[in-house]
């Protein structure tokens, strides 16, 4: 039961119906049953993993909070009895113990994630070394439980927030299990903060007509992106990247460009379906994309692309690293030698680099993903370090910062940087990625685009290309409208009269029905981010 299947839509519709007729107080039970039911249908074999993560995080959270509350109470009770040193020593002890509890939960759950995700890779790598000495590390043929990255990140964010005393721990295990397993987001996010999502899940919001309309519109839009655009292009990308040496540089570059569109349509389409379904239940989930290809620099891009992962990493990795004692020490040392500016920029740049390397490794156990992280982190590091120089050059060249042509240049430049990163994504390994990049430049022949053979190569007929271009135009216009507006386009549509609303929905719906890639003879493509 994938998100684009009719079964899923029917499942969601039945859940919504039951949710709507259930008394408010018990509605969260319906969501929990729906979530666990969905997980059981799709991935029953691995349901233990999600329950284990929920249980360890839940009990860890309660233990951590209890320890914090008891310690605070104890410190209060000792007011006036302790010397400053005694109080400080006790506080240090408390911090250490807090860290231990938190770390235990983190290590255990990230340990499961890492083991399942990277064991096979390390086993194969070790075997390739050990085979010379007759040794072998068994490949356990492990599979990733559905949504493990997403629910692990979400749960671990919760335990860190409890550690930071941002909110109190959830006392009801089943409520916490719902937060971890909410079915519209389990496959590929968006990753939610407990403070944003949990109260909505437990509130038992009424099924409102406005939410219903907007939700349906968002789901249909998601289907449009996924079935009309992404799934039509996926074969082109996988075929060319899977055997790039058989193709010209023009075809390889085309595949990379097509991938840029396909990935965006796939991932954002899937997220729209998730958010749309959640909205039917009156639950507003965080936005995960804000027109990323309109970004003027790579930092902005990462604030617009997979926003919830970026937000999670900033909150729980980047800031802790950048504010950590070693980094503070580094700052101080640099300040003494190179001055204020360098002392601020260098630690931040290194923290960015570390964060992106983690992002890369999170994508998979492969050097190409490390390179992906280094590329993105490196660009951010360099651009932060050279920011003053860039400003100087702009002034010398009399470039107006806010001019439209310069903004377009910035967008194009950012897109090129992103595109280079995509080569690491689509290539089977680091070496192939480099080879593909080389061929894209050295073997580029624009004249190929005029020939019929080229279209055969990219496995798309002229009509399909025309359709994709038309769909891209629609996507561009919608994005532009969104970019210029404070409210979402679907909110604007839902404020229009019934005829306009219906017309938009009908056109969108039948575009999916007629132009979508589905039905007999097609092989429905999984969401790209599902694998992570």
């Amino acid at each position: 039961m994938t998100y684009t299947s009719l079964n899923y839509l029917l499942y969601a519709a039945v859940c919504l119906l039951v949710y709507g007729v259930t008394p408010k107080k018990y509605r969260w039970w319906v969501l929990l049953a729906a979530s666990m039911g969905f997980y059981a249908i799709v991935c029953l074999k691995y349901i233990g993993f999600i329950i284990l993560t929920a249980a360890t995080t839940y009990f860890g959270g309660i233990k951590l909070e209890k320890y914090i509350t008891d310690s605070d109470a104890y410190i209060k009770s000792q007011k006036g009895k302790w010397s400053k040193e005694e109080k400080s020593a006790y506080k240090d002890k408390v911090t250490r113990n807090k860290k231990r509890i938190c770390a235990a939960v983190l290590v255990f759950n990230f340990g499961i994630l890492c083991f399942l995700k990277y064991y096979n890779f390390f086993a194969d790598s070790l075997t390739s070394v050990l085979k010379h000495f007759g040794g072998k590390v068994p490949n356990l043929g492990l599979f990733l439980p559905l949504g493990i990255s997403f629910y692990t990140f979400q749960s671990m964010g919760y335990i860190i927030d409890i550690y930071r005393k941002k909110y109190t721990a959830e006392r009801n295990f089943f409520k916490f299990l719902l937060f971890v397993s909410f079915f519209p987001q389990i496959v590929q996010g968006p990753i939610a903060f407990y403070s944003d999502l949990a109260h909505q899940l437990y509130a038992g919001e009424d099924v409102r007509f406005e939410n219903f309309k907007q939700g349906v519109l968002l789901v249909t839009w998601g289907f449009f992106k996924k079935l009309v655009i992404a799934d039509r292009l996926v074969t082109t990308v996988t075929t060319i990247s899977g055997d790039h040496k058989s193709y010209s540089g023009t075809a390889i570059l085309s595949a990379a460009l097509i991938y840029a569109l396909q990935l965006y349509a796939d991932f954002s389409g899937g997220i729209d379906i998730s958010r749309g379904i959640a909205q039917l239940f009156g639950i507003n989930m965080a936005e995960n994309f804000k027109r990323p290809y309109f970004s003027k620099d790579i930092s902005e891009y990462w604030h617009r692309w997979h926003i919830t992962l970026g937000g999670w990493l900033r909150e729980y990795l980047f800031y802790p690293v950048a504010m950590s004692k070693p980094f503070q020490k580094m700052g101080k040392a640099l300040k003494a030698k190179f001055g204020m500016k360098i002392s601020k920029v260098v630690p931040v740049s290194i923290a960015s680099l570390i964060t992106f390397i983690v992002v890369g490794i999170w994508h998979g156990a492969n050097w190409k993903y490390v390179a992906f992280g280094v590329w993105n982190g490196g660009i951010i590091m360099i651009s932060t370090l050279l920011e003053d120089n860039f400003t100087g050059w702009k002034n010398k060249l009399h470039i107006k910062e806010n001019s439209k042509p310069f903004a377009l240049f910035q967008m194009f430049r950012t897109f090129l940087i992103v595109l280079v990163g995509y080569y690491f994504d689509i290539a089977p390994n680091f070496k192939s990625a480099m080879s593909m990049m080389y061929l894209s430049v050295a073997d580029l022949h624009i004249s190929e685009l005029a020939g019929r053979e080229f279209y055969k190569t990219i496995l798309l007929s002229k009509r399909e290309i025309a359709l994709v271009l038309a769909a891209m135009l629609v996507l561009f216009i919608v994005s532009l409208k969104q970019e210029r507006s404070q409210t979402t386009l679907r909110e604007q549509i839902c404020k229009k009269n019934f005829v306009v609303q219906s017309l938009v929905f009908i056109v969108l719906f039948f575009s999916v029905v007629i132009f979508g890639v589905y039905g007999p003879g097609t092989d429905p493509a999984d969401f790209y981010y599902m694998q992570f």
Partner: protein
């Protein structure tokens, strides 16, 4: 508050009705089986109720080898070929049920070729779809899908757009189909009562069996099911026939068929074995190994018609209105046959279905459409494009061509 809810329910209902209507329009524009099958099946439903004396059910052999208007002209009984290319025998019961839902025939004739198919042939989607996608959507249709199609594929049969939506990429083929249907729906009823041929005595598009067909386990099961169904319905006059083929069934198969059918209480007639008696000349009366051309059709029709009149007490009394309608059909068919005979003698080797306009103007238009279709195909260079179904150009069928038991 109640007023708001009422208004909303009304609005949603209106929206749903409009969407269902659009879906039906899209489906009717995008559906594409073979125009010949579509015409043969849909034209059956256009026949005046209870106007047919004889029901003829079978595969492509029937509309190639038997002409109801020629039989009417010579023997006075009305009949209709509810015949679909490559239709497997397990659909025969449903075809009979559809026939009986609108007509009250005095005799039912089954051609047994549908029982010779193998599992491989049955697995070809097109062979299911020609019947299921063109018959009326009713309880019989829904039950048939439920009973005969794998569960995971049933949705695509119930909601045909799921299968055919991708035909937006092939507008030339859809236009050709629409043109065929436009020609087909000219006139009150079908003129030739389900007909198709190729104007050749030895077509380049051959369907020649090297091995004679045999009854498979599948065939036995469904032949028995058909016999049982006829008995359940209380039908007294049921005739099972084998139309002439170049590769003739063996004596064992013939005997097995005869035994099963006569044990069931019905008659069996092997026209194949009577080819000499009928006057079939293998060098001039077939357009390929499995199908007679118009010359052979005329001979086989006259023989079968005579047999029916001699062996069954068929009343040929009809209202004046029905007689007039059928006289027109017979006149048209005779004229068409004379044109088609000329073209066959000239070995034109082109496919004709009942809706083709045989006039010079019609032929010129047909050529024009072929060119458009070909151009469109070239522009698209779509390797996955299915064989052209548009105007019956690939008659007899893509399925029969693909059927492994026949090719080998």
């Amino acid at each position: 508050m109640k007023g708001i809810y009422k208004k909303r329910i009304l609005k949603i209902t209106a929206l749903l009705i409009v969407m269902v209507l659009i879906a039906f329009i899209c489906e009717s524009l995008l559906i594409r089986t073979t125009s010949a099958a579509e015409a043969h099946i849909k034209n059956f439903y256009r026949e005046p109720k209870n106007s047919l004396d004889v029901a003829v059910i079978g595969c492509s052999e029937m509309y190639a080898d038997y002409s109801p208007p020629i039989a009417y002209r010579n023997f006075g009984f009305t009949s209709y070929n509810l015949a679909v290319e490559g239709v497997p025998g397990h659909f025969f019961n449903s075809m009979l049920d559809e026939f009986l839902s609108r007509q009250d025939p005095q005799l039912v004739v089954f051609e047994v070729n549908g029982f010779f198919y193998t599992e491989k042939h049955i697995a070809i989607e097109g062979n299911n779809r020609r019947w299921l996608d063109n018959m009326k959507r009713n309880a019989n249709w829904a039950e048939l899908i439920h009973d005969t199609i794998a569960k995971e594929d049933q949705f695509d049969y119930y909601v045909r757009l799921s299968k055919y939506h991708s035909n937006w990429e092939r507008p030339e083929g859809q236009l050709a189909r629409m043109y065929s249907m436009y020609l087909n729906y000219k006139g009150e009823v079908s003129k030739m009562k389900s007909f198709g041929t190729r104007t050749s005595c030895n077509s380049k598009k051959k369907v020649n069996r090297k091995k004679p067909p045999q009854l498979t386990d599948y065939g036995r099961e469904y032949l028995q099911a058909t016999i049982d169904h006829c008995r359940e319905l209380g039908l007294e006059n049921v005739l099972f026939i084998r139309e002439p083929h170049k590769a003739k069934i063996s004596a064992e198969t013939d005997a097995e068929l005869e035994k099963m059918i006569t044990d069931g209480g019905y008659k069996y007639l092997n026209l194949e074995a009577m080819s000499d008696e009928i006057g079939i000349d293998e060098s001039t009366d077939y357009y390929n190994g499995d199908h007679l051309n118009v010359f052979g059709n005329e001979k086989a029709t006259l023989y079968l018609g005579k047999y029916i009149m001699e062996n069954y007490d068929i009343s040929t009394e009809h209202t004046e209105e029905i007689n007039k309608l059928w006289d027109d059909c017979a006149d048209y068919t005779e004229e068409a046959f004379s044109i088609l005979k000329e073209r066959t003698l000239a070995n034109e080797d082109k496919v004709y279905s009942e809706f083709n306009d045989l006039s010079e103007k019609g032929s010129a238009l047909r050529e024009k459409y072929h060119k458009i279709k070909k151009q469109g195909k070239d522009e698209n260079f779509d390797e996955h494009e299915p064989p052209e179904f548009g105007d019956g150009e690939d008659f007899p069928t893509e399925c029969e061509d693909k059927a492994p038991d026949k090719k080998e």
